[in-house]
């Protein structure tokens, strides 16, 4: 349980970090808070040749409202966002779900963008980014681009990020007035990865449900309203479509059953907020 050897670069500027990524040709990894990467290194599931530490780059940890979205920089730690005054008004779903991300002892160092880059299918942040229709801002020496969450998560711990790109920020739209939201999760302990997690948004009768922990990536779908007789069938169909897996924590059948219950519960809570 010790990492294999790597070079360690403490980048002073973002240009330096991008330069290192370009030079390493896919053998570099960005090190931010390390709370997803270090377990991978310790278990030798990742063996990069060089780690590029971005946490001392000035200004990269900024969190600010920009054109109707919350822009969260690559080095912004989860604990810092949780402590942001006004987060509950800016984006109540994020404020509600953040305490479920890891433990106080990992949120203290873990970054939001790091969890997005890692793209664990059971992690809360990829689910939230998708539920809230956020975007990922990527930059390399060649170009800067923005990718919608919907297109960013491409499979089990894989994303649309190219080898020479780093996530420089994520953008999460501010809450729309008159919108209801809710989040719920089942895990072994509070703070562990989700066996299943659901986030719902309800606005003017339109329901969006995002589900994590079931498929190889988070998935969001439009759903029938709470009063619709179709809702149960739609939740059931979604469970089968997501090809729930058996693992050490729960069976596929349990995950489908919990999707029906938790899905309905979050939609009900979100709908109650707008009534």
């Amino acid at each position: 349980m010790k990492p294999a050897a790597f070079d360690y670069l403490r980048a002073a500027t973002q240009e330096e970090a991008l330069e290192a990524l370009a030079r390493a040709g896919g053998e570099a990894r960005i090190l931010a808070g390390g709370q997803s990467l270090l377990p991978m290194l310790n278990m030798r599931l990742a063996r990069p040749r060089v780690l590029v530490d971005i946490m001392r780059i000035p200004g990269l940890d900024g969190v600010a409202v920009e054109k109707g979205s919350l822009r969260i920089g690559a080095a912004a730690r989860q604990a810092a966002l949780l402590a942001r005054p006004g987060l509950a008004a800016e984006q109540p779903l994020l404020a509600e779900a953040m305490p479920w991300i890891g433990h106080a002892q990992t949120r203290s160092r873990g970054t939001l963008c790091g969890s997005i880059a890692h793209a664990d299918p059971s992690a809360e942040l990829p689910l939230l980014l998708l539920a809230l229709e956020g975007e990922v801002a990527l930059r390399s020496r060649r170009r800067a681009r923005r990718v919608a969450a919907q297109d960013f998560f491409t499979g089990l711990m894989s994303t649309a990020r190219e080898e020479d790109e780093m996530i420089e920020a994520i953008h999460i739209p501010l809450a729309h007035p008159g919108e209801g939201h809710a989040f719920a999760e089942i895990g072994r302990r509070h703070g562990d990865f989700a066996i299943i997690a659901c986030a719902a948004r309800v606005r003017e009768g339109a329901v969006r449900l995002a589900v994590g922990g079931v498929a190889d990536r988070p998935v969001a779908r439009a759903m029938p309203g709470l009063d619709s007789p179709e809702l149960d069938a739609a939740l059931e169909a979604l469970g089968w479509e997501l090809e729930a897996r058996d693992d050490l924590h729960a069976s596929a059948a349990y995950r489908r059953a919990m999707l029906r219950r938790l899905g309905r519960a979050v939609i009900a809570r979100a709908a109650a907020e707008v009534r």
Partner: protein, 167 residues
């Protein structure tokens, strides 16, 4: 731009329990190992080495963090606190004393990590609710106590720390 090449040892300097220390370590060295092996600070325990058990929890610049999920080179210039910085065997901290009185430990393997988490929590939030305490402890595994005595110790410490402040 400091580039520390693999396979070689590099000097890392930080503050440990108020004292400036230095250690020579490879980039891949975990903080937990450097504390224990290079600096002989064996109060910090190592259980799972992937962030799950909490035994290795220390304070980095005042906030609890997993030493097994931190590279030693990442804490260059930081101020660290470990269980050795809380009290001494003949002068326990109030929190440690409450653990003793309430039987908050049996084998003691999980204890240093839990102490570092609770020490930080009580500093930030002197009147934690039951839920605050439980959420904080959810970042730690204890195979002995069943957690109830740990919660009692934490509650007692919160009260006594408040009394100490008013006294």
């Amino acid at each position: 731009m400091p580039l520390l090449p693999a396979g070689r040892r590099h000097r890392v300097a930080f503050i440990l329990n108020g004292v400036a220390v230095e250690a020579d370590c490879e980039p891949r060295a975990l903080l937990s190992d450097v504390l224990r092996h290079s600096l002989a600070a064996t109060g910090t325990h190592v259980g799972c080495e992937h962030g799950v058990c909490g035994a290795c929890t220390v304070q980095i610049d005042g906030v609890p963090a997993r030493a097994c999920l931190t590279l030693a080179v990442q804490v260059e210039g930081a101020a660290l606190r470990t269980v050795e910085g809380l009290g001494t065997p003949d002068r326990l901290s109030i929190l440690q004393q409450c653990f003793r009185e309430e039987h908050g430990l049996q084998c003691g393997f999980c204890t240093p990590g839990i102490l570092m988490s609770l020490d930080a929590l009580l500093r930030e939030n002197p009147s934690p609710s039951e839920q605050d305490l439980k959420e904080n402890l959810s970042g730690h595994l204890c195979r002995c106590t069943g957690y109830a005595p740990i919660l009692r110790a934490a509650r007692r410490a919160a009260e006594r720390l408040k009394d100490a402040e008013h006294a």
